[in-house]
C-alpha cells in the first residue's frame, strides 16, 4: 500500500522512526489521488522526513493523516502551477510486483467508465481497444485510439486520420462508434463465459475473433482475417490481475478511505501557500540519499578490526594483539580484565575519532557513532561533576532529533507563522515527554522563563530560540489544542502547566487542605495560643506552608493563593504574624443577625 497510517505524537506531529530526521514542513497542503482530490485531506501540514512524506490534517489530525514511504516512491514530478492552479508535486509509486503492472497500462480513461459498469474492471479496460470506426469516405474499419474517452472528448481532441484514405473523421462519428463498442462489450459481459469459456466450448486452443468470429490461434494478438485485435492476449494477464485486485478493491475509486485501497496512480501534493520548491529540492535529495537503507544495512566497519590495526601500527606487543583478537567476555575477569576492557574501549574510541575526522566524507558517514561518543563523554563528565543536575543538557542529542529550525521551513508568506506553530508543538512534546518529566519535577508548574532556559540548553547551543518567538509559540498552545497551557498570573508572571491542571482543581485542593486543618490536633501549636474556635474557622496558613505542602516555589504559591482569593475561596489576614490565608467565611456566612 502506498499510503500508510501515521502515528502522531502528543503534539500532533508525526512520531519519527529511529534515525529519521525532519527535513521540511509546509502547511496548507492538499492531497490528490491521480487527478482527483481526496476528500478530508485538503488542508494540512506536509512533513518531509528523511524516510517519509507525511500529511497531517489541520482539523482532523488523528483520523486524517497518512505517510508515504520514500522507498516506495519511483520518482517525484514537479508542476509549477498556472494561474489559479496551485503548484504540485506528484509522487509516482514504484511499480511493485505484477500487481501494479497489470493495472497500470492505461491509467487515464477507465476510471469514469468503469464506475458506470457493474464493478468489473476488465471489460471497460478492453472495450476501447476493440472499438472501430468505419471511415465514411472509404469505409475502412479503423481502430479507435486507445486513449480516446467518449465522455471527455471534445472538438479539440486530436483524432487520427483514416488509415486508408488519410481523411480525418468527424468527431461525432468516432464517439458513436466508441460508445457502440462499449455497449457491445457490456452486453457481451452479461454472458460471463464469453471470453473465458469460448476456447473451452469451441475448438480448444483457438480464440474467436470478436468481429468476424474467425477461430484464431491463441498466440495471435490480431485476427488473421479482419485484423481486429483479439482480446485473449490482453485478457490472460488481466484475468490474473483481476483475481487479486477485486478481492480488496471492488471499485477503482471508492473514495471512502485512501488507506484502504491500492493506489494505482500517483499521489499529488498541492501546495496552496507556497513552499513547493524547497520541498521538491529536499525531496529529491532525500530520494538520492536513501537514508532508509542505512537502517537495514550492516553498521559501518566496527572498531574492533580497526583497533587491531591501530594496535599494530602503534607497535604494541604481539601478546596484546592476540589477546584482543581472541578476546571474549569470558576472558575478562577481575580488575585486570576490567582494566584491559577499558583499555580496548579507549583504543576503539581513538580509532573511531581518528577515522571520523580524517575527512569530511568519513565524518558524515560515521556521524551517528561520533554523536554517541560525544554523549558518553558528556555523561562521564557529568558524573564527575554534579550528578544528574545536567540531565537536560545530556539529553541534547535526543532533543536534536526533535527540533524544528527556521531552516526547515519555507520562505513563503506563512513561513514565520508556521515556524511558530511548529515550535509550539515542539515545546509541547518536550514538556510532555515522560522520560524527561520536566513539568513533573517542578510540581506541575514552571515559569516560562525557566522553561526557555531549559529548552535552549537542551537544544545544545544550536538554533537557539529567541524569547519573543518562544513566547509567541507558547501562546499558541491553546489554539493548537496541545496538552499544555500558558497561564498569566495577575502580576503578569507567565507560567506553563499541564492542560488538566485547571484553576478549579487548584482551588479545590487548597480548600481541601484548609478544611483538613479544622480537625488538626489542637495541641500542635503549643507555642501559640489559639484564641479562636479552630473547629469552626480552621487555621490561617502562610505562603511558605502552602509552597511546602504542594511542592511549588514560593512565588508560584503566592500567585496561586491570590488566584484562589480572586475566586473568593480564601481570604487574607494581615496581622502581626504576617500575611496568613484563611478559608473564606466572610462570603459564605455574610448574615450577621441584627439586634
Amino acid at each position: 500500500m502506498f499510503l500508510n497510517p501515521l502515528d502522531l505524537t502528543t503534539a500532533l506531529r508525526p512520531s519519527l522512526l529511529p534515525d529519521e530526521t525532519l527535513l521540511f514542513v509546509q502547511d496548507a497542503v492538499g492531497l490528490y489521488e491521480g487527478k482527483l482530490k481526496i476528500p478530508k485531506y485538503q488542508n494540512g501540514q506536509a512533513y518531509l522526513t528523511s524516510h517519509r512524506v507525511c500529511y497531517v490534517d489541520q482539523t482532523e489530525p488523528r483520523s486524517c493523516s497518512v505517510a508515504i514511504n520514500l522507498k516506495e516512491v519511483e520518482r517525484p514530478e514537479f508542476y509549477a502551477g498556472f494561474l489559479k492552479s496551485s503548484p504540485k508535486i506528484t509522487l509516482y509509486p514504484k511499480a511493485s510486483k505484477q500487481l501494479s503492472i497489470a493495472t497500470n497500462p492505461s491509467p487515464t480513461a477507465q476510471g469514469t467508465l468503469a464506475s458506470a459498469t457493474d464493478g468489473h474492471v476488465a471489460p471497460a479496460t478492453i472495450s476501447p481497444v476493440n472499438a472501430t470506426w468505419v471511415c465514411p469516405i472509404c469505409s475502412f474499419s479503423n481502430p479507435v485510439p486507445s486513449n480516446f474517452d467518449p465522455t471527455a472528448a471534445n472538438a479539440r481532441t486530436p483524432l487520427p486520420p483514416c488509415l486508408a484514405c488519410g481523411i480525418k473523421p468527424p468527431l461525432a462519428h468516432v464517439i458513436k462508434a466508441a460508445i457502440a463498442a462499449i455497449r457491445q462489450a457490456q452486453s457481451s459481459d452479461g454472458t460471463p463465459q464469453y471470453t473465458a469459456g469460448a476456447p473451452a466450448s469451441s475448438t480448444p486452443g483457438t480464440v474467436p475473433c470478436p468481429r468476424c468470429t474467425f477461430q484464431n490461434h491463441p498466440s495471435l494478438s490480431a485476427c488473421e482475417i479482419c485484423g481486429a485485435p483479439l482480446p485473449a492476449a490482453a485478457d490472460k494477464r488481466l484475468e490474473a490481475a483481476k483475481a487479486i485486485t477485486r478481492a480488496e478493491s471492488p471499485g477503482p475509486f471508492s473514495q471512502t478511505s485512501p488507506l484502504g485501497h491500492e493506489i494505482t496512480e500517483s499521489i499529488k501534493l498541492s501546495f496552496r501557500c507556497g513552499g513547493e520548491k524547497i520541498f521538491y529540492e529536499r525531496l529529491k535529495n532525500a530520494l538520492v540519499q536513501r537514508k532508509w537503507l542505512l537502517q537495514s544495512a550492516p553498521p559501518i566497519p566496527k572498531p574492533l578490526p580497526a583497533s587491531d590495526h591501530v594496535n599494530m601500527s602503534a607497535g604494541l606487543s604481539a601478546a596484546t594483539i592476540q589477546a584482543s583478537g581472541a578476546s571474549g567476555l569470558s576472558k575478562a575477569i577481575g580488575i585486570a580484565g576490567l582494566e584491559r576492557r577499558h583499555l580496548e574501549q579507549t583504543k576503539n574510541n581513538e580509532a573511531v575519532i581518528g577515522t571520523a575526522f580524517s575527512d569530511l566524507e568519513a565524518l558524515m558517514t560515521s556521524a551517528k557513532e561520533v554523536i554517541a561518543l560525544a554523549e558518553q563523554f558528556a555523561n562521564q563528565a557529568n558524573i564527575g561533576n554534579n550528578g544528574n543536575h545536567n540531565r537536560e543538557a545530556a539529553n541534547a542529542a535526543s532533543a536534536l532529533s526533535l527540533i524544528t529550525t527556521k531552516d526547515m521551513l519555507g520562505t513563503g508568506s506563512g513561513a514565520s507563522d508556521l515556524y511558530i506553530s511548529e515550535l509550539s508543538r515542539n515545546l509541547a512534546e518536550y514538556l510532555t515527554d515522560d522520560t524527561r518529566g520536566i513539568l513533573r519535577n517542578e510540581g506541575g508548574i514552571m515559569t516560562l522563563v525557566d522553561l526557555w532556559a531549559v529548552f535552549n540548553r537542551a537544544r545544545g547551543g544550536v538554533e537557539l530560540v529567541s524569547p519573543s518567538d518562544f513566547e509567541k509559540a507558547a501562546r499558541r498552545w491553546d489554539e493548537l489544542r496541545l496538552p499544555v497551557r500558558l497561564r498569566r498570573f495577575r502580576s503578569g508572571l507567565l507560567v506553563v502547566q499541564g492542560r488538566d491542571r485547571t484553576d478549579e482543581k487548584t482551588v479545590a485542593s487548597v480548600l481541601a487542605w484548609l478544611r483538613e486543618l479544622h480537625s488538626e490536633n489542637q495541641g500542635q501549636g503549643q507555642d501559640r495560643e489559639v484564641s479562636w474556635d479552630q473547629r469552626t474557622w480552621g487555621r490561617g496558613v502562610t505562603v511558605q506552608e502552602v509552597a511546602e505542602r504542594f511542592g511549588w516555589s514560593v512565588g508560584v504559591a503566592q500567585e496561586e493563593l491570590e488566584m484562589c482569593e480572586e475566586k473568593g475561596a480564601v481570604c487574607r489576614e494581615v496581622g502581626l504574624q504576617g500575611l496568613r490565608w484563611w478559608e473564606n467565611w466572610i462570603v459564605k456566612d455574610p448574615v450577621v443577625h441584627s439586634g
Binding site: 484564641s531 479562636w532 474556635d533 469552626t536 474557622w537 490561617g540 482569593e565 480572586e566 473568593g568 481570604c571 487574607r572 489576614e573 494581615v574 496581622g575 496568613r580 484563611w582 473564606n584 467565611w585 466572610i586 462570603v587 456566612d589 455574610p590 450577621v592 443577625h593 441584627s594 439586634g595
Partner: protein, 200 residues
C-alpha cells in the same frame, strides 16, 4: 451628645456575630466580592452595636479602642484606615447611607478634611427619614396630634422613655423633624434652644 467612649449603659452584654471571632474579619479584603460582603457584615455589626448601646455618633479614634473594633480575645483590631474605609462605604448609597460624616467646621468639608479632622460620624441605625416615620407613628399612637411638644419632651421626657428615640441627639432630632416638616406632617416653631413642634 453621647460620646462613643462613654459606652455607659452596658445593661446587657452585646451579642457579637460569629464573624467577629474570625481573625481575617479584621483585615479589609482586597478582592471586590469578598470585600463587599465584609463591608456589609461590618456595617450591620456597627449598626447593631450602636443600637444596643444607644450610640448616635462614633468618633473613630476613640471607637477603635472599644470592643466594637478591638477584639481583645483574638488580639485583633481594625486599623484606623480600614475603619474609615468601612464608614466611607456606609455613607455611600451602596452602603445604604447608614452613616454620615459630621463636618467639624461650618463650611462644607472636602474629602481630605474628613480624614484629617476628628473623624466623627453619624451612625444611622435609623436614618432621619426612618426616625421621622417613627416619630409620626408615636404621635399617632399616643393621640398627640395637634398638641405642641417641646423637643426636650420628646428626647428626655418620661413619656418617651420606652421609645427608641429616647435620648436622641438633638441635632439628629432636628434633622428628623425637618423631614416631617418637608412631608407636611409637622411644624416647628419657637426660638433657638426652646423649639416646639406640632404634628398634624
Amino acid at each position: 451628645m453621647t460620646m462613643a467612649t462613654d459606652s455607659s449603659t452596658p445593661n446587657s452584654d452585646f451579642q457579637f456575630p460569629p464573624l467577629y471571632n474570625f481573625p481575617p474579619f479584621f483585615t479589609l479584603q482586597p478582592v471586590l466580592a469578598t470585600r463587599k460582603s465584609q463591608l456589609q457584615s461590618w456595617s450591620s455589626l456597627i449598626q447593631s452595636y450602636c443600637r444596643h448601646h444607644r450610640l448616635w455618633t462614633l468618633t473613630l479614634v476613640d471607637a477603635l479602642e472599644t470592643p466594637l473594633f478591638n477584639n481583645t480575645k483574638l488580639s485583633r483590631r481594625l486599623s484606623l484606615r480600614d475603619a474609615r474605609a468601612i464608614i466611607d462605604w456606609m455613607t455611600t448609597p451602596e452602603g445604604d447611607s447608614r452613616a454620615e460624616w459630621i463636618p467639624t467646621t461650618g463650611k462644607k468639608p472636602s474629602r481630605s478634611d474628613e480624614y484629617s479632622e476628628a473623624g466623627k460620624c453619624w451612625i444611622y441605625w435609623k436614618r432621619p427619614e426612618e426616625w421621622a416615620s417613627a416619630l409620626e407613628e408615636w404621635v399617632d399612637r399616643t393621640g398627640q396630634k395637634g398638641t405642641v411638644l417641646t423637643l426636650y419632651e420628646i428626647t428626655e421626657g418620661d413619656a418617651t422613655r420606652r421609645e427608641e428615640f429616647w435620648g436622641m441627639d438633638s441635632t439628629l432630632l432636628a434633622k428628623s423633624l425637618a423631614v416631617c416638616v418637608k412631608r407636611g406632617k409637622a411644624q416647628v416653631f419657637g426660638a433657638e434652644g426652646s423649639e416646639g413642634v406640632k404634628f398634624f
